[in-house]
C-alpha cells in the first residue's frame, strides 16, 4: 500500500468547465507522491458553517514533470460549492492517495466507460494503460449537450465515443445504447452513477468481459476507520474508501 500524506497544496488554476463542473490544478513545493489511477483524495473544505467532513474527490490526472495534480469536481452542494470559489494562490489541505485504484492491464484493449463527472478518473487511468501498451477506447455518457466538457485530453489518449440522453451530441440514449460497447475488449473500467454502472456491469457479464467499477459512497475518514461507507460484497460489508473504491463486479452483490 502506498504511503498516505496530508499535504497543503496550492491552487494554480480553477477552470470552469461547464455550468456545474470545474477543474482544480494544484501544486506543491516538493515532488508529489506516487498516486495510482482510481485512487482519490480527501479535501478539507474551509470557511463554511455547514460542511464538517472532508470531500472525497477522484484523481483526474497527475503530471509528475510539472508537479501538478488535477481534480474535476461537480458543484452539487455546500462543500463542492465552496471549492468552486477557490482562486489561484489559495491553499487546500488534502489527504492522499487514498483507496486501492484500478488494476492495470498489460497490452490488449480496454473500454473506459464514464458517466457525468465519473469520467474524471478515467483520464489518468487511460494514460497509465496506454503506457502499458493497452489500446484505450472511451465511452462517455452525459445527460445534455451542456454537461459535456472539453474532451481533448481524453482524445489524446484514445478513441472517444459519446452518448447524450437528449441526443444533442453523439449517440442518443445511455452508454449501453452505444454500439461500441458490443465490441470485444479485454477489460471494462466503469465510473459513474450507480444505475449506469449496474447496466454496464450487466453487459460485461453477458459478454464475459472482466469489469472493474469505481464506487462512490458517503464517507467520513477515507481511511477505513469509521466504517461508514460500506458496500455489500460476497464477503460481507467492505469499505468503499479502503477496500475500494474500485471493485471487480464479481465481488459485489448487484
Amino acid at each position: 500500500m502506498l504511503k498516505k500524506f496530508e499535504l497543503i497544496l496550492t491552487v494554480v488554476e480553477n477552470k470552469k468547465l461547464n455550468n456545474s463542473y470545474f477543474q482544480l490544478i494544484l501544486t506543491h513545493p516538493n515532488p508529489l507522491p506516487e498516486m495510482l489511477p482510481g485512487q482519490f483524495v480527501e479535501v478539507k473544505v474551509e470557511n463554511t458553517t455547514t460542511v464538517y467532513l472532508r470531500r472525497p474527490i477522484s484523481i483526474n490526472d497527475v503530471d509528475y514533470k510539472a508537479n501538478r495534480l488535477s481534480l474535476i469536481i461537480k458543484n452539487v452542494g455546500d462543500g463542492t460549492n465552496a471549492l468552486s470559489k477557490l482562486c489561484a494562490g489559495d491553499s487546500l489541505n488534502l489527504l492522499l492517495p487514498l483507496g486501492n485504484g484500478f488494476t492495470l492491464l498489460e497490452n490488449g484493449s480496454a473500454i473506459l466507460v464514464g458517466g457525468g463527472v465519473g469520467i474524471a478518473p478515467l483520464l489518468y487511468l487511460g494514460g497509465k494503460l496506454r503506457e502499458k501498451g493497452v489500446k484505450v477506447t472511451y465511452l462517455l455518457g452525459f445527460k445534455y449537450n451542456s454537461d459535456i466538457i472539453d474532451l481533448s485530453a481524453f482524445e489524446a489518449v484514445g478513441d472517444v465515443n459519446i452518448t447524450t440522453e437528449d441526443g444533442s451530441i453523439g449517440v442518443k440514449g445511455f452508454v449501453t445504447n452505444h454500439p461500441v460497447i458490443n465490441s470485444k475488449f479485454d477489460r471494462m473500467y466503469v465510473c459513474g452513477p450507480t444505475p449506469m454502472m449496474k447496466s454496464v456491469a450487466k453487459c460485461a457479464i453477458e459478454s464475459g468481459t472482466d469489469c472493474e467499477v469505481s464506487l462512490e459512497n458517503m464517507m467520513a475518514c477515507g481511511l477505513g476507520a469509521c466504517l461508514g461507507c460500506v458496500t455489500q460484497t460476497k464477503e460481507g460489508h467492505k469499505c468503499v474508501c479502503s477496500d475500494g473504491p474500485v471493485f471487480n463486479i464479481n465481488e459485489l452483490i448487484w
Binding site: F5, Y52, N217, A225, G228, V230, T231, S242
Partner: protein
C-alpha cells in the same frame, strides 16, 4: 520538563490523549499520520463476542459541526481480534485498550475474559452506551440495574483496568456513573453519542438506514463538558472526558472540568493527526501557565 503522565486505575498513560473507539480503527489505518509513541492510548473499535455485520448503508449523515452515524458495531468478533489483529498491533508503542460491547452480562463477561489473557492489552472499555444496536449497548446504559449487572459480571471476569463508557441519553448520568462505580468500575468515560436524526426533506426520507443514529463532533462538546463536570463531582474514580474534542483547548477544558484523561473521536475523521496537535498543545498550555504536571489541572476549574 513537564510531567504529562496520568493514571487510570492501574493504567499508566504517558499523556492524557487517547483515541475514541470506532474513530481510529485499530490504529493501523492512521499509522502514516501519527506517532503512536506520542499518544496515551488507542481505544480500538468496539468488539463483540461474535462477528457483527453492522447496519445497512447509509450509515452517515453530516450536520453542522458534526455527524450522525449508525454503524451498528460492525466487527469480526473477539476471537478474530485475538488471532489476526492483536498480533499486528500489540507492539505499538502506546497503550492498546479494547472497547467491549455485548447484548447481555454473560456476553460481555466472556469477551472480557478472553481479552484478559492478552499481555499487551492493559485495559478494556466496557461500552454500555452504543445507540445503534437493538439489544444491549445503550439499552443497558440507561438503566442503573442493567448497567450494574453487566459491570458486576465483567468485574468478576476481568482483573485489569476496567473503564465503563457511559451514554448521555439519560435523565441523570451521575446515577449510572455511581451504579457502575459501586460494581467495581475503575473509571468512567463519557460521553458516547447523543441520539439524533437527519432528514432529507426533498425525498421525505430519513438519511440514515436505521432512521436515528449517534450524534458526535464539535457540536456536542458543551453537553459533554457539562456531564463530565457533573460526573467528576459524583464519583471518586477517574473520569475520562470525550465528546467533540478537536483541539488542545477543548482537551484542557475537559480536564479543568474534572477529566483525568481525554479521548478524541470524530475529529480524527477530518484531521488524522489531531492527536499529535492536542498532545503538543496541552504541554504548551501547561508551560504557558507555569504548571509542572498535567495532573495539576484535573478539576482545577474555579467556580465562584
Amino acid at each position: 520538563m513537564i510531567d504529562t503522565r496520568v493514571k487510570i486505575g492501574d493504567l499508566e498513560l504517558r499523556n492524557p490523549v487517547m483515541t475514541a473507539s470506532g474513530t481510529f480503527g485499530y490504529g493501523t489505518e492512521y499509522k502514516d499520520f501519527v506517532d503512536f509513541s506520542r499518544m496515551g492510548g488507542i481505544i480500538v473499535k468496539g468488539t463483540t463476542l461474535r462477528k457483527r455485520e453492522g447496519n445497512p448503508y447509509p450509515r452517515l449523515a453530516e450536520v453542522s459541526s458534526g455527524i450522525l452515524n449508525t454503524i451498528g458495531l460492525q466487527n469480526k468478533g473477539v476471537d478474530y481480534f485475538i488471532e489476526h489483529i492483536y498480533p499486528e498491533i500489540k507492539d505499538y508503542d502506546t497503550n492498546i485498550i479494547v472497547n467491549v460491547s455485548g447484548t447481555c452480562p454473560e456476553d460481555y463477561a466472556e469477551c472480557a475474559e478472553k481479552l484478559a489473557l492478552l499481555d499487551k492489552i492493559p485495559a478494556i472499555e466496557v461500552n454500555i452506551s452504543c445507540p445503534n444496536v437493538k439489544q444491549g449497548g445503550m439499552t443497558i446504559g440507561v438503566n442503573c440495574a442493567a448497567a450494574g449487572s453487566v459491570i458486576k459480571a465483567v468485574r468478576k471476569a476481568y482483573p485489569k483496568t476496567m473503564i465503563v463508557k457511559l451514554t448521555p441519553n439519560v435523565t441523570d448520568i451521575t446515577e449510572i456513573a455511581r451504579a457502575v462505580e459501586a460494581e467495581g468500575a475503575d473509571s468512567v468515560s463519557l460521553i458516547n453519542c447523543l441520539n439524533g436524526m437527519a432528514i432529507d426533506a426533498e425525498r421525505r426520507k430519513p438519511i440514515l438506514s436505521m432512521v436515528t443514529g449517534g450524534f458526535s463532533g464539535p457540536a456536542i462538546k458543551p453537553v459533554a463538558l457539562r456531564m463530565v463536570y457533573q460526573v467528576s463531582k459524583a464519583v471518586k474514580i477517574p473520569v475520562i472526558g470525550l465528546g467533540g474534542i478537536s483541539n488542545a483547548t477543548d482537551a484542557v477544558e475537559f480536564m479543568l472540568a474534572g477529566a483525568s484523561a481525554i479521548e478524541i473521536g470524530t475529529a480524527n475523521f477530518v484531521d488524522p493527526s489531531v492527536t499529535m496537535k492536542v498532545a503538543a498543545g496541552i504541554e504548551e498550555y501547561l508551560v504557558r501557565h507555569g504548571y509542572k504536571s498535567v495532573r495539576e489541572i484535573i478539576g482545577a476549574l474555579e467556580v465562584s
